[in-house]
Symmetry: D2
Subunit: 460 residues, 4 copies
């Protein structure tokens, strides 16, 4: 099999299958180098601002950083086995002797890398993930409004319960996803930056600026639009990252739940919704008739990929004393979490944006179980009318109706004990008991209120 595909000469499916070039542009090794350079530039600008070096020197270093290639960094790292020092060497190579001393001055590698990761995460989330989430939310809001009155049987335990509307079900996802976007945004906003030196004491900076050594960090982070962390060892505390990635896993859980619902509603026996199936698309390599809910399945499967990843993130909270390096390799896998969630969002948008809704089938399923779904309404009405054992009585009536293959309605009508209550039924009572599809409570109103609330919240 020759020649091999460079695209496939990778092991992780995130690199050959579940990400697009746009996302890779934000999350790749190249992107990380770019962010590390951004921190080095911010640092030297801060050094200039506090008077440690002059403006031409800072400018010389900035320009050098613009011309660094990943190749030269990789090459030097081979030699010295230290990625950040390799980067520093490459910058130093590109400036004159007078500028060399100011490259990376006062910083430790972790200052650069921890802050660069924050920039990387924030940029990918702000530029791609949050906007994509809002796009998905917009689609869900539209769908919920459109189907606000489409009656569907509610299912608990996989069993028919009482009716809802399909729009109301979707409104649940609007509400959950809307809240999650807010929580994610909050987690992003709380990501700090750091330039505190070898063990977090600003010791090196204090040699240059004995009175206010933290000023260098403050100026550099202002350029990067980050708040300085309150305390660090050599590294930033990992809690802000744990919160961020937990929220991403939470979002993935919401999408997986939605995907599961869509999968189940596509079952041959239910068939209330349908994934868009492209012309020419093949469902099975051996069964030509198959049209499978593969988008929903794919979303669910990606959720399983990232679920266990939080274990790694939580473990990385522990770093001995002023730091050990055991969260270095593991920390490099975090961008994958963002990439998988980003993929799930886009797949969810594809799924829900083109979702077919079969109202006839929804209605057919609704009436499939006859009128037993009115049992709750009957029990509540009887209770309201003063029946002391309404729940047990209705259980008995349902049992009878089932045994006689009759309706609950008919069984009530002929039950002697029920007569005094039947006589008191209001018109509304009768309507509900005969037309279960009208037993909807706040389904419609609730749907529209939720849709409106989140439209306003995000100005969609």
């Amino acid at each position: 099999m020759v020649p091999l595909s460079p695209q496939l000469d990778v092991i992780s499916p995130i690199d050959y299958r579940y990400s697009d070039p746009e996302l890779r542009g934000y999350l790749s090794g190249n992107a990380m180098l770019r962010e590390m350079l951004a921190v080095e530039v911010a640092l030297v600008k801060a050094l200039q601002k506090v008077g440690i070096c002059d403006d031409p020197t800072a400018r010389e270093i900035e320009v050098a950083c613009q011309h660094i290639t990943p190749q030269e960094v990789l090459f030097d790292e081979q030699r010295i086995h230290h990625d950040v020092r390799a980067l520093v060497n490459c910058i130093r190579e590109r400036v004159g002797d007078s500028a060399k001393p100011f490259v990376h001055l006062t910083a430790t590698s972790a200052d650069i890398k921890d802050t660069a990761y924050i920039l990387l995460f924030r940029r990918a989330l702000d530029d791609i993930v949050i906007p994509d989430l809002k796009k998905l939310l917009t689609i869900l809001i539209g769908l919920s409004i459109r189907e606000a009155e489409t009656v569907q049987i509610g299912r608990t335990h996989g069993q028919h319960a009482i009716p809802i509307t399909f729009g109301f079900a979707i409104a649940g996802y609007v509400s959950r996803l809307g809240s999650a976007i807010l929580a994610l945004q909050r987690a992003i906003d709380q990501l700090p930056g750091m330039l505190s030196g070898a063990v977090g004491t600003y010791a090196a900076a204090s040699l240059l600026l004995p009175k206010q050594p933290r000023t260098i960090e403050r100026y550099a982070l202002e350029i990067l639009e980050l708040q300085p962390v309150e305390h660090s060892t050599q590294i930033m505390p990992r809690e802000p990252l744990a919160r961020l990635f937990s929220e991403l896993v939470v979002i993935a859980g919401i999408l997986a739940n939605l995907a599961d619902d869509m999968r189940n509603l596509q079952r041959s026996e239910i068939a209330e919704v349908g994934e868009h199936f492209e012309k020419g698309q093949v469902g099975s390599s051996t069964m030509p008739q198959k049209q499978n809910p593969i988008v929903a399945e794919n979303i669910k499967s990606c959720w399983k990929i990232i679920l266990g990843r939080m274990v790694t993130v939580y473990m990385d909270q522990i770093s001995e004393h002023q730091r050990d390096l055991t969260n270095s390799a593991s920390g490099r896998t975090y961008p994958e979490i963002i990439a998988y969630v980003g993929w799930m969002i886009r797949r969810s948008t594809e799924l829900m944006g083109k979702l077919g809704v079969d109202k006839e089938r929804m209605h057919a399923n609704l009436v499939l179980g006859g009128d037993y779904q009115t049992a709750e309404a009957l029990y509540v009405i009887l209770s309201q009318l003063g029946h002391a054992n309404a729940h047990a009585k209705v259980m008995q009536l349902v049992y009878l109706a089932r045994a006689n293959k009759s309706t609950l309605h008919a069984t009530v009508e002929v039950d002697p004990e029920m007569q005094p209550f039947v006589d008191q039924f209001s018109d509304v009572h009768r309507t509900i008991l005969q037309h279960p599809e009208q037993y909807l409570g706040e389904a419609k109103r609730g749907t529209l209120e939720i849709a409106e609330r989140w439209k306003v919240e995000f100005q969609l």
Copy 2:
């Protein structure tokens, strides 16, 4: 071996070893029943307030709820295999026929259980966990202030780096734990309540109050001091719980990190701190001399117990359609997470409250590695003085010093290339290079600022 111990006739160590009666009082099966009854009482009071039942009826049900015993509920559940309906039956048994219809009216089991769990979690956290966290924080703040100037070698990769103070290291935990308390409090405050009926549509309530069915929920939750959830299926969305338990796992991670540091500082070769060892306590059943850091080890081990538990919590986000029951058994294990974290906090308080600090040993370890720890200061000073390759030069000097079993200081003094720079060294430079223990940057000031900030934040 007779007779058996009832205390030991349980399988989970949380029930025979890692919880005390106080915590069990908040988190046990008994406690859950108490909270479920609280919700049923709030519901009937709300029914009364909107005019569905009269005041004596509501009062009769409230009194009945005060007299329910767990035994009768368990007994009825055996018969009908439904825990909430069993509870409802027991309440109904204790009231007259006129009150019976109003017990549990409009509610589904999940309304009661989901809301009761929220009450249970909130109460245990508000009454025990948060106050215990603040107690621990107070101890850490005190320790950080007391040891703000106690110089200790900073350790990165387990290797001596540059100095910090022990108080500064503790201040890191103050900062991390303080932030986590705020985040936990926020997660608690966002826990909602719910009384929305069988599939979240308020359908049953709408039979009683067609115009404003949600009023019943609102009144009931006002009594319980909870905000209603925006949307529910039969159950509440699980995201607020995922956020809550994630924050608890995050707190456990901070405590485990602290415990690890204390374990390592107690190593025979380091011995900078010591756990309190009680008179009569045995360290080993075979080695009579042993005094082991068992409190710190226990904290770390409990962290391992709960780390994997988040997997369960995240999985419980998925519930098919209007709910399936696959998060029921798993949901019952959540109180264990609180119990383990509560245990870890108390153990941490015990550990840190009685921690012995050996300043002499800290000093002895500080000087163990000679003056190589001044290498960074030397590199920064040389850079500041315009040396274009200071980092490489200092690496070389350290290499020479090690080879000659000399000090870095002495090696610099005799290096010809260094002379022009040595001549420019300021007094401050010389002091730092000869007294590494003064190369502390902001360690002291930072410690005191952090201590002050969190004292004020929580009025400790």
Copy 3:
């Protein structure tokens, strides 16, 4: 709410809900004390056998061990904070001065506890879990044979594929569970014992028996029917436990898969099987008509409980140097894994032993999708007859048939391109194409072979 229930004064649901007294008898704190005493007795018998102490002494210690109560051990542990030494003290209390020196002699606590845990796990598994698994397997085998010819539509992606038989589906679980029982038995058989002293070097034993210090371990373990571990530190390597618990999690996964299938087959729209519903059982506290698949749901939920537990087990593989204690608290939770799996097995037995199978409904669902399920057969037949593009052609025919709301069969008959092939169809071909329920391949034969194989394997 008074008085409280002692049964409910626990936090873990394994202790108030998901275990029965029999299982607790094997897995409780009491049971662990019993096993620890068994190891101490075996040790002193071995000391006697090698001539370190005399027979009356060994006998005196054995008798003492029979009379220890958990209470006295707990009481002494309060004082000395060491559980094994407390046990040793209690034994010593009950023997004369001449016997005292031989209690626990040469052992370290971990010898006693690690070996006792092995005994505890093995006994619970051998006495309860393995027999229960075989009972469940017997039920599944019976069901697979009984339903070997009951045609059911095969479902892939939740979509109708081609037919199987219900017995064949069950045979899959027979095969998976049978293999898992073998693997579990193997993992049990490989659990070792250990009495190697403080750091695994048999140093203490070598004072008593300089030539053959390991003889004491060998004799003691022979009594306990265990092989000595090849190497230990203070503790046994954790790999045999990781393998054991992984296999239990694997078994839980099989049961969860079975439960999911049974849940889905009970969906209102599918309704091919039904859980046994007891007289008087309540399905919903508000919807009197509900009959929910709660046993299957409970099994699935317990799987979620234990899934994350393996994270803890894997983490416990790491113990620093000759041991640290950070796997002590976590190790105490392992019996819960056995208890949950034990519970899942019993619930599965209950579920499958009383499962209702609705053959009419199976047939109705089978024909629901018309004859499109013959598409694969048609494609294979056409290929066999030399059609070069059979898959694409059949996709097109299905598309046409769907568009015309016709059958695939009828569409083929009128397609001109198909005529030469139709003419070559054999009788078998025609039968299969017209009677999809006969397109079963090896379903029946395979089912019976699998049933027979596992009956023979375990002599069921």
Copy 4:
């Protein structure tokens, strides 16, 4: 920053940092295509062998498979959204009309993919991982023999316990890793293959070979040297994979434990071993003196990466009915587990193969704590001589010795109660009590026996 590095235009560190081209050659997307083609070729050869197609046809398809390029497959997949069908199309493109019908005939996609994954895993493990493990084992055996008599203080709870030898500590890893290699090999050997058709019933094959449809699978798998699975749905049961990957995670745990021990032995205060540090290697970008244990840290960090991955593998055991696709994306990440473990093995080989051992420092640390480490020996000797409370007595003596800053030995000599016992001390007793480094039990002998056993086992 231009131009970008193609090597870095990936997200996962397994693709840009923690794997080498050799491993990628076994585990990449290209490799998977190669294995899928191998299965298609085996299938058509089996079809030929049973007489379904002729030899030139089979040969034509085999040759076509040798010329397929990944690019053409990717291109067709874009169009039809089905990876296996795209592969089939590409093969069909390259053969004449008479051969086209026999490509993929009787197979479903999962037959090809599940079997191809087995081939991929097996080849990577057999060719790389197992040999690399044996290389590492050889190094550990050599080290254990070389250091079999190098006395080192045993450490439990991070505290000095009693002595071992460094070789004995390494022998523990020999034993654990040796056992794990056997277990891994067993898990590999139990991986089955499958060609059972759309729902596992061999229905398609039965159209071609009504009597013995399984013969096609048998012949094809013989070519691939795999046993057929006993039962499948559309997919193979996942338990063999769960067992395989669990064993890989177990191996990773052993390596992480070893790495942790080496990390801790490199602490500045302990410094008993040292990682090889290359000329020119940089330890810190700001502290020129640093030499950090980065290889050991990297190994530990990779363990954290894969620990949570087992959650995904266990979850993939569940597939609804005859399969759902929710284990497809997740299944594609399994090769990463092998890649990370492969990386960890190579890094461990690098770490241990060049490990520096500082015997002087080991001896210095051994005597650091004086002679308190003889406390166990004293307690055992006293017990042997009939002292009824030897453990408590020795605790008291240690307490006294510590209080008086004296040795245990001297304290015993002057204790009146001890005199009768001291008088009975044998020469061996005296030697051990005065020379703790001789209290080694079976450390040396055990080390050599273990080394020998595993050399023989694997013929190393």
